[in-house]
Amino acid sequence: MIPIKYNVRSLFVRKANTLMTIVSIAFVVLVYVGVLALGAGLRVAFTASGDNSTVIVLRDGANSEMESYFPTETHRILASMPGVARGADGEPLASGETMTLQILERPDGTETNAVLRGVEDDAFALRPYIRITEGRRFVPGQTEIIVGDQLEGEAGGLELGSTIELGRFTFTVAGIFDSGGSSYGSEIWGNVQEFGDSFRRQNYYSSTRLMAESPAQVDALIEEIESSQQIDVAARGEPGYFEAQSNASSGVFLMLGNLIAVMMGFGACFAAANTMYAQVAARSKEIATLRVLGFRRRTILGVFVLEAAVLGLAAGALGALLALPLNNVSAGTTNFVTFSEIRFVLRTTPDVLGAGVLVATLTAVIGGFFPALSASRAPIATLLREG
């Protein structure tokens, strides 16, 4: 086999051409990785929101908390079901919650939809990763709220200590919470009764979250809930609920990423083909020499395809390097299930970067294949005459 240093050094001979191709493919990788990082960030935001032991209950037929509502009586029945874990006080770990969309004004004058989540005390026990980073939790009866870390600075009136009108009441921001990367970071939380009063939606909840006694008991609890004759609700594990929302939103990015990769990759293919045709044309004597030395046509084909792959790997590495600063960059999009704004950070995970390098390599190999084929097919005598 011809040593790989032959390929690498050959690419260095025509530095300018090689570099231009590497840069053009690297930009494809940068855009592709950027879009995939959006999708990955969104997926993390959703999957971090799901807990393996938690069951979420909605009105039967509702796809999201935004579409769901049921009487608070239903919540009380759910909380008393067997299989629901109990807290240190011996009470069931259950949180009846409401979800309302609130239009907020950004500092630049544009508007965003934020989720107002009314919760009961157990909401924090059900989501142990929620941590107050500034101030404290809201105190029921004091018309206080806490604000998710991703919303901080997104709209006016959400700073610690400031006040904001939500419905009929004015609320004070008592604390800022770290959502552990979950989608709750884009929400405003307050006491469920106070939000109900403020928006005149007393006696109805959007959802109930219940903690099962263990992750293994989740299915049994769901079956118990759904087989109940008293209530007309649907229950599912929290991870599955958020995964469905994640797929609806991040799927758009995945599709967009692939579309961009194909379109830009098509152009970059030509750059790779151009470089490889130049390599082949400039090295016809070398190709002839290799053939005279006894290397077969398929080896020559392999040499140039490998060279294209080396080109692609270099471009992929550069593109991935350029994309690294995108990690943790904050972004926002619409949750296509609840139509609320969701804030999250881009994630240039190893998978995302790997996909970028793969796209670069494929682009270069596809572009380099036909030049490689022409190099392997040319008769030796012709190569010697023409070189």
Binding site: T289, L290, R291, R297, I380
Partner: protein, 229 residues
Amino acid sequence: MAERLVEISDVTKNYRRDAFDIKVLAGVSMDVSEGEFVALMGPSGSGKSTLLNLLAGIDRPTSGNIRVAGQSLGALNDSQLAGWRHRNVGFVFQFYHLIPVLTAYENLELPLTLTKLSRAQRRRKVDLALEVVGLADRKDHYPRQLSGGQEQRVAIARAIVTDPRLVLADEPTGDLDAGSAQEILDLLAQLNEEFGKTIVMVTHDPRAAERARRELHLDKGRLHSAARH
């Protein structure tokens, strides 16, 4: 009586260029015995290089038969021909054709990568070949760091590193000054006399041809005179 290494019987070679058929070789027959050093002479366009290419299995004749080392080349497909060439033929080009991005050592090692030899065995063979051509101290030099004569010596070392029975040289001194040309001819003579290599050398330089043991003359595709030294 030495074994006949090369047998060429009534070989013709035509090229088609645009609407014209160009007859390059017209019924050439010749033999070369094992251990011979043959100079193939003739003016430009006489078919010398074409005949050499046919002997190396680089090109195929229009008609006729070529046997080298007992193998009829017409019976081999392209892939088999590549393997056969690697085992039996060392080729020296007029313009050396060393791979510019590889050092002298790496250029010599290249054909050996087609064998099952270990790295250490390859190193021994390369070192020996470089020693034969007197360039052991230049093994880490790239072709651009060598003179024309040195490049051609490396190219000769590459041609013999696989220990082929037949060495084919196409105008090996054509691009060299008189002094370097003399060194290359001395080297080829040494390969023939000391190492028993059979050499067929294309040249149009009578002084180069004199170093061979036999001269064959090609003119307009016909082999029509011969001289022995």
